[in-house]
């Protein structure tokens, strides 16, 4: 069943009561690329992330990662397979220090983990704040901390739910550079983002959700001109 895809989603469906949050959604990610997932508010982007990572149980459909079924696994098992994610609403561990937020998520020997954590903190210019409680950091700093916390585990696939929201210009550019560098290292990134400039500049391919359905996919230039996408965004 291994056909070179990193992630394959088949006919994934998720209801919340009467609401169909994700509707027979299928998509395929190849390794080493940056993908975008866009769609209006409430179109099911976060729910799709939750179904991939095991935080929500899908109602129907399948998810394959490196050729193996991962739907039905617990979130920590999905994480161990090599999928990392950030959250739309920040979820750092507020009463652990920045450094502890990183150390706690790996099982590497302490020395190795410590060196890696310091490198990552320097990478997002948080190194002077390593002993600060995460809850005391600014909003943007917490977002960056959550981002490097994912990198601590060195996942193959990284799901980012609106990583740029609330991050200031300078840090944003660093963040985007970091994402590109990860891609160059062979990682695969799927990013939910409302800022079209960010999406267009970064992603090789976009998936568009509307009412939980995938209504289009393709390179950014093509997607921008797609009448169904324009309709979904502006036509109501």
């Amino acid at each position: 069943m291994d056909d070179g895809h990193l992630l394959e989603i088949r006919d994934l469906t998720k209801h919340f009561g009467g609401v169909v949050a994700v509707n027979r959604c299928s998509l395929v990610l190849a390794p080493g690329k940056i993908y975008g997932l866009i769609g209006p508010n409430g179109s099911g982007k976060t729910t799709l992330f939750n179904c991939i990572t095991g935080l929500e149980r899908r109602d129907a459909g399948e998810v394959f990662f490196r050729g193996e079924r991962i739907d039905g696994l617990k979130p920590h098992q999905v994480a161990h397979r090599g999928i990392g994610r950030t959250f739309q609403i920040i979820r750092v561990f507020p009463e652990l220090t920045a450094l502890e937020n990183l150390l706690v998520v790996t099982r590497e020997p302490f020395e190795v983990a410590y060196r890696r954590a310091q490198e990552l903190l320097r990478f997002v210019t948080l190194d002077l704040l390593e002993n600060e409680y995460a809850g005391n950091l600014s909003y943007g700093q917490q977002k960056l901390l959550e981002f490097i916390r994912v990198l601590m585990r060195d996942p193959e696939l990284i799901l980012l739910d609106e990583p740029a929201a609330g991050v200031n210009r300078t840090l944003l550019n660093e963040l985007l550079a970091a994402i590109t560098r990860l891609r160059d290292q062979g990682k695969t990134i799927l990013i939910v983002e409302h800022d079209m400039k960010v999406v267009m500049g970064l992603c090789e391919k976009l998936f568009v959700l509307d009412y939980g359905e995938k209504i289009a996919e393709g390179p950014p230039g093509v997607i921008q001109a797609d009448p169904r996408v324009i309709e979904a965004y502006f036509g109501r």
């Binding site: 561990f93 507020p94 220090t97 150390l103």
Partner: protein, 306 residues
């Protein structure tokens, strides 16, 4: 600094070890109860301070250990030492049985379930009269062992404080804390929260069970209401909240402060004592949710590992 702290600790321990040589009977009993409260508060901190799962029925483990220990002593002729360790094992087994279903409950539901556990245990113990003496209690053979129980309680308090130190300064303890901080994020970051919760729960049940056995031996007589009182759980909670939950020395600080106050001043005014307790709960919850050590840590930027 580090050496000074270690030296102070060593001297303190030495003085406590020598204390029975000069102490009165009252002094020894005072101290062994103090050790008991340190051990209980510290145990409660392991599950509730670290993982945030607030247990309102922790005295169930104490009572279980007390009965298991007392039964082994009276009907099987065990020495109270091994019998109390067996009491600890019994408490862990109880924790294992109820941990699976109860630790799935969130927030107040877990707290209430634990409260229910304590009531159930008390009723069960009253019901199985043949084994436990039922409502009329269980008398242990007369033995004057306060001196030995002093050391046993002290060792229990020391052991669980040492365990807290090892945990809180290690990544295992940090993983316990991620459950308190954000269970969903912890899971998404690859931490098996169900397993770590259970570990914390089992750890937190053992010492109360052992200490329950010591308590039964020390009292010489136990009955359901004397080893399953809700007030004991509440006292553990207040001690930890007062001293600083999730810290290493907070439970010790809270237990010592409140126990000394209770014994020396307030025991003479029964009702005032209860009002005082209630006032502390309100005061801590409203003004000092992190307890004394928590406030000091924040104000003076001390490391958490205190």
């Amino acid at each position: 600094m580090r050496w000074a702290v270690l030296a102070a600790l060593a001297i303190g321990l030495l003085l406590l070890a020598l204390y029975p040589l000069v102490a009165t009977g009252y002094g020894i009993r005072f101290m062994l109860q103090l050790f008991m409260w340190v051990a209980l508060a510290q145990s409660w901190n392991l599950i509730s301070g670290l993982t945030g799962y607030v247990s309102f029925g922790h005295v169930a483990f104490f009572g279980t250990g007390a009965y298991a220990g007392a039964i082994l002593v009276t009907t099987h002729g065990w020495h109270w030492g091994p019998a109390s360790l067996a009491g600890g094992v019994a408490a862990v087994i109880l924790a294992l049985i109820i941990g699976y279903p109860c630790l799935r409950l969130k927030g107040p539901y877990f707290a209430i379930a634990m409260l229910g556990l304590n009531e159930v245990m008390r009723v069960l113990v009253s019901y199985f009269e043949g084994l436990t003496g039922g409502g009329s209690g269980l008398s242990l053979p007369t033995l004057h062992a306060s001196g030995q129980i002093y050391y046993a309680m002290g060792a229990a308090a020391l052991a669980v404080t040492g365990a807290a130190h090892l945990l809180i300064t290690s990544r295992v303890g940090l993983r316990f804390m991620t459950i308190r901080e954000d269970e969903i994020a912890a899971e998404a970051m690859g931490i098996n929260t169900e397993r770590y919760k259970l570990y914390a729960f089992l750890l937190s049940a053992f010492v109360p069970g052992v200490v329950g056995g010591f308590f039964a031996r020390d009292q010489g007589y136990i009955e359901p209401i004397s080893v399953f009182p809700l007030l004991t759980t509440i006292t553990m909670i207040v001690m930890v909240l007062f001293g600083g939950k999730g810290t290493i020395w907070g439970p010790v600080l809270g237990a010592v402060t409140l126990f000394v106050f209770q014994e020396l001043v307030w025991a003479r005014f029964l009702y005032l004592h209860q009002i005082f307790f209630g006032a502390i709960i309100v005061f801590v919850v409203l003004l000092m949710p992190r307890g004394i050590l928590g406030v000091l840590q924040e104000r003076y930027r001390l490391p958490r590992t205190i």
